[in-house]
């Protein structure tokens, strides 16, 4: 067998449930295999670590071809909230936790959380806006430094 992966640095750049979950699942899965995991949140992916937002992330029902339904339906008031509720219910059954609990679980497992400096500046955010699991706000250079010697995954 070839060399095992020892370290991954995962970039979460997209918002919405379908934007943030894949990266969270991969990070948690990495820790479960004893792989070092860093998470770097940028652009709308950052919602997953913003205190006020992390518990309210929804699935997009408009302009999302993966939903297999006409976008016209998706614009109905409350539809996105309903679809999100259904999806979270299914995930809970599979033991996939809601975003805030997942972030806590990955941090407890030893995963490290970082926020992107450029996005923080752009959205006018402060360190206090983030959940306590966030280690620091770093720039791209620092991200590469932290990622050295591992795999980088962009989601």
């Amino acid at each position: 067998m070839s060399d095992k992966i020892k370290k991954v640095s995962i970039i979460i750049s997209k918002g919405g449930l379908d934007g943030v979950y894949p990266g969270l699942i991969m990070a948690n899965g990495a820790r479960m295999e004893g792989i070092e995991a860093n998470l770097f949140f940028t652009f709308f992916g950052m919602d997953a670590i913003i205190k006020k937002r992390m518990g309210k992330i929804k699935i997009a029902t408009v302009g999302n071809p993966g939903m297999h339904m006409p976008s016209l339906l998706g614009i109905l008031p409350g539809f996105s909230a309903f679809a999100t509720k259904m999806m979270l219910k299914t995930m809970d059954k599979l033991d996939i936790p809601p975003v805030p609990e997942y972030v806590e679980m990955i941090a407890d497992a030893g995963g490290k959380f970082y926020a992107c400096k450029a996005t923080v500046d752009m959205f006018g955010l402060k360190k206090e806006d983030f959940c306590p699991q966030v280690d620091s706000i770093i720039n791209v250079g620092k991200f590469y430094e932290i990622s050295a010697g591992g795999e980088i995954i962009f989601t």
């Binding site: 699942i25 948690n28 899965g29 820790r31 479960m32 295999e33 004893g34 599979l94 033991d95 996939i96 936790p97 609990e101 679980m105 407890d108 497992a109 030893g110």
Partner: protein
């Protein structure tokens, strides 16, 4: 199916060393598997996890997830990672004589 010798016990294992027949599991076998996994000694905290895994397996036919272990109050995720370094779900299952966990979480 491969066989493995742990002390005086011979057990059936799969290609990755997970036990194939739980009836062959004993506390001594568990301690021997733990040693192979780099855990020198099974402490009371380890046994609390192993006992809970067995209880859940008997009741639901399933090995509990890390999340369930945490939520049930048996052990925090942090402690679990400390007790079974380098892959807690897999290692705890292996030492408990369970099959390899299939889930992603």
């Amino acid at each position: 199916m491969a066989q493995k010798q742990y002390g005086t016990a011979t057990v059936e294992v799969d290609a990755e060393g997970f036990m194939a027949d739980f009836l062959q599991w004993t506390r001594d076998v568990a301690a021997a598997i733990a040693k192979e996994e780099g855990i020198a000694e099974l402490t009371a905290a380890h046994w609390k996890v192993i006992d809970y895994i067995h209880k859940e397996f008997k009741e639901n036919g399933q090995v509990p997830s890390i999340r369930k272990l945490n939520k049930s109050g048996v052990i925090s995720t942090k402690e679990l990672y400390d007790l079974f370094p380098g892959g807690p779900a897999k290692k705890a299952a292996k030492i408990s004589g369970m099959k390899k966990p299939e889930g992603c979480v």
